[in-house]
Amino acid sequence: MIRFLVRRLAQAIVVLWATSAVVFLLFFVGPGPNRVARTFAGRFGTAARIAQIKHDLHLDQPLYLQYSHWAWNVLHGDLGYDYYKGEPVISVIAQAASATISLVLGAAVLWISYGIFSGVVSAVKPRSLLDRGFTSAALFFYSMPAFVLGLSLIWVFAYKLSPVTTFFPFHGYVPLTASPFGWFEHLILPWLTLALVTSATYTRLARASMLDVMGEDYVRTARSKGMPERRVVMVHALRPSLTPVVTQAGLDIGTALGGVILIETVFGIPGLGWTAVQAINQQDLPVIVGIVVLAAAFVVLVNMLVDIAYAALDPRVRLH
């Protein structure tokens, strides 16, 4: 197990390094030093300022030195300085991260529980109306773009229901520390949108996994011993069938950043995705790079944790 851990960790480090190199190449080298400096300078692109920026960012030095400066800073938690806002990128990201975490975790609770529930029901009563209903719903939401769903939900709940109740706000975000009720209120529709769009795969996954487990011998044995069906499902079949669901959830949470961009834009939640889009609009490179590096690191971390958890559960995995 230790050997597996060490190997896995080494792999993660290699991947992180490679990712950072790709990101660096993409943003700092791709456009060329002149363009990068000019981009940072923006509307204040006097020759003096551009030269100053080039110097500050070491753009006049050879590539490998630039990369080492940047990588060294990143390892020390210094993701650069946001010229537009005048604060370190780390603090920009920290403020945005709590909103995204609230959004993703809350939605994850919803989609995992719905996915498991609908998957189990579908597996237990295959080809019934419920099964067909859940499967149809899964396909429907899986095929619908997140932004269409988000806008429709705002339309129905915030606008159409407004004469009845103003519980559903149109947009915005309230931090948990400022007002738990406001936090909850503003996140309901975004949670619903993200959960509906993501849950589809979970319904199918849970269903298939459940069917698989229910076909196993030990389940058949339990049934033939006269155990009531409900006990068979809940006690014997449910837990083992959850493993792939949980694995997938872990992976999805890790890669959630890409998906939340649309939701955050539609609902005006100033999380990492929204911040990244704003940064791209302003060509605020330090923030873009910071968020991409962070997202990548997070995915690598989660993947590693999931693999380790899997290995702890199933020794066969370690050999691979």
Binding site: R49, P126, G172, G268
Partner: protein, 622 residues
């Protein structure tokens, strides 16, 4: 696995269709009924309410973007003006009295400027008893105002964009502004040293009096004195470079509100300024206790939410009514609603500007004939219709909109480029552009604005229809449109995007810095060369350069009376049109809306919004 029953599939799609159709058919929200109000600009959604105005409550505003710069004396866009309205006072400003909102009234000043010496001197007296909310509190002095003027033309990237309006009119100001040491551009200490130790020869302070010595009589100067450079600026502003976090991290205030927090691009919160006394402020009633601005909204949902009377949205911060909402808002006005407003803007928005220095296609746009050909190839009436129709647009066939001094001297019905596609084609052919060798143009536009996108789509379509032109769009957002493309300075070794051919045509907007007697701001900013170039603080984006126009402008400025100046302004207008520097399109009538519980909503043209310093709420926001 199971097989998905086709009936379920069909039923599901059918259900979806039904749901959407039901929702859609109940979605029409136009108010039917006999029109009871004539649609005229100036229709105010004042919403006076019943009873006396109430003090208190929190005004929640939602916007799509931020101020251009959070600072005292260098803001130049309507969002900046709105924030200054609440916190920083100028010598003169705009009264929130319907029908009088465009006549400058004394704010820091005690009365109108006193002109002496044949109009070559103007003296303004500052009120006493005004206090900064510094700790300890400190009186606002005449020197603070002079500091505002001096700091406004600093050499750092954050400098006032309208200096061209008045810089050459105040004696010694041009010399002062060009006398900044180069190091001041990057060092706050050097800048502070220069500002505090050097003075402008034509500005003299004695007690509470400021006396401006002018290079020429300027009865229009009071209009300029409503601009941010004529604000009182505390010395703390020089602790950092203009527009820097050291400055906007802690803004001081002499107005009714102070900024309690500011997160760029996210939010601004205002609370009452304890040092402000209502008796010293004739222009602002400041009924509400606090104002929260949330800058993370989007245009469509803001107007959706406003209609519901939600407490979290009283007014839009900077989002204008989207064209999609026009029909609904016009219906509201026709039925007499007090919640919608239609106001004149005195703007040329959008107008089509040509980059005369673009190297594309062999510098084609540098030739007058090519620009004129393009003007003949656009049918303005089509543009007007797609931009909302004649209900909300006044077509502009030349530079000055009606109501601007000088416009009345342009011959009635003056339209130098009536739509003539065959003439356009032949002129283009004469310049060497045909269907097989088309003129390729890049049209820069703001893709985050519904109206600007529609204008682009229509112009591109019309020009493409000529056959010998091919238009490609360059979409960008509002702040990049000006910041990255049009205002980026041009210097040797670092050419501006216009010189690099990054754009050939663009669709900016222009509003005068004051109203009525404002022709000087139109021509100095838009067409003066080199004074109007971006690097010199103007908005002559296309680098239009004409000695004749420059000459006419200085003649206009040297006329002794407004009436005589107007004749020259009209002449400049015609000269600019003959040279096809721009193709004007329309003066939009701005539609605006506010929540039902917002009262005394006076529409102010400089903000294109209701005045937050004078609204009161009948249902306090939460």
């Amino acid at each position: 696995m199971r097989h998905f029953h086709p009936r379920a599939y069909g039923a599901m799609v059918g259900a979806v269709v039904l749901i959407i159709l039901v929702a859609a058919c109940t979605s029409a929200t136009s108010i039917s009924g006999q029109p009871t109000q004539a649609l005229a600009p100036g229709w105010q959604g004042l919403n006076p309410g019943t009873g006396a105005p109430q003090y208190g409550g929190i005004l929640n505003m939602v916007g799509v973007s931020d101020v251009a710069v959070m600072d005292y004396d260098i803001g130049y866009y309507r969002t900046d003006f709105q924030v200054l309205r609440l916190t920083v006072r100028q010598l003169y400003s705009w009264p929130a009295i319907p029908g009088h909102t465009l006549t400058p009234a004394p704010d820091l000043a005690t009365g109108m400027p006193v002109a002496t010496d044949n109009g070559l001197k103007q003296t303004v007296t500052i009120r006493s008893g005004l206090v900064w909310n510094t700790s300890p509190p400190r009186p606002v002095t005449a020197q603070d105002v002079v500091r505002g003027i001096k700091r406004a033309c600093n050499p750092s990237p954050y400098t006032f964009g309208g200096m061209a309006d008045f810089e050459s009119t105040i004696r010694g100001l041009t010399a002062y502004c060009s006398g900044y040491p180069a190091a001041a551009a990057t060092s706050a200490a050097v800048m502070k040293q220069y500002i505090e130790s050097h003075s402008v020869s034509g500005i003299a302070v004695s007690g509470n009096n400021i006396t401006f010595t002018l290079t020429r009589p300027a009865p229009w100067l009071i209009g300029a004195m409503t601009l941010p450079p004529f604000s009182a600026v505390p010395i703390e502003a020089e602790d950092g470079l203009p527009g820097s976090p050291q400055v906007y991290g802690h803004m001081y205030s002499d107005g009714p509100y102070e900024i309690t927090s500011y997160t760029p691009k996210k939010s601004i919160t205002f609370a009452r300024n304890p040092q402000w006394k209502a008796s010293t402020d004739p222009l602002r009633k400041a009924y509400v206790n606090a104002i929260n601005v949330d800058e993370t909204g989007n245009q469509a949902t803001i107007y959706q939410e406003m209609a519901t009377g939600s407490p979290s949205l009283g007014m839009s911060f900077d989002a204008l009514a989207p064209p999609a909402a026009y029909s609904q808002l016009l219906d509201m006005i026709k039925s007499g609603s007090q919640l919608a407003n239609m106001g004149a803007t005195y703007q040329s928005n959008p107008y089509l500007v040509f980059s005369t220095v673009s190297p594309n296609d062999g510098g084609a746009l540098g030739k007058v004939a090519v620009r004129q050909a393009l003007c003949y190839g656009v049918q303005r009436s089509q543009l007007i219709k797609t931009l909302g129709g004649t209900a909300v647009n006044i077509p502009l066939t030349h530079v000055l909109p009606p109501g601007t001094d000088g416009a009345q001297d342009v011959p009635g019905g003056y339209d130098p480029y009536p739509y003539n596609p065959s003439k356009a084609r032949s002129m283009l052919a004469a310049a060497g552009f045909t269907a097989s060798h088309p003129l390729r143009l890049k049209l820069l536009y703001r893709s985050d604005s519904q109206g600007n996108t529609k204008a682009f789509t229509n112009i591109a379509s019309q020009l493409d229809a000529l056959g010998s032109v091919s238009v490609t769009g360059v979409p960008t957002n509002q702040s990049d449109f000006y910041g990255k493309y049009l205002l980026a300075p041009n210097s040797p070794g670092n050419p501006a995007p216009a010189y690099q051919g990054a754009w050939d045509l663009a669709l900016p907007a222009f509003g005068p810095d004051w109203y009525g007697n404002s022709a000087v701001t139109w021509f100095n900013e838009l067409f003066l060369s080199p004074g109007g170039f971006a690097a010199n603080g103007g908005v002559n984006f296309g680098y239009f350069s004409s000695a004749a126009v420059n000459d006419t402008i200085s003649q206009a400025l040297s006329q002794p009376t407004e009436a005589q100046a107007d004749v020259y302004w009209a002449k400049a207008d015609e000269e600019v049109m003959q040279a096809a520097a721009i193709y004007p399109i329309t003066e939009p009538l701005q539609l605006a809306e506010h929540a039902p519980y917002v009262h005394n909503a006076v529409y102010m043209i400089p903000f294109l919004n209701f005045d937050p310093a004078n609204v009161w709420l009948s249902k306090p926001g939460s």
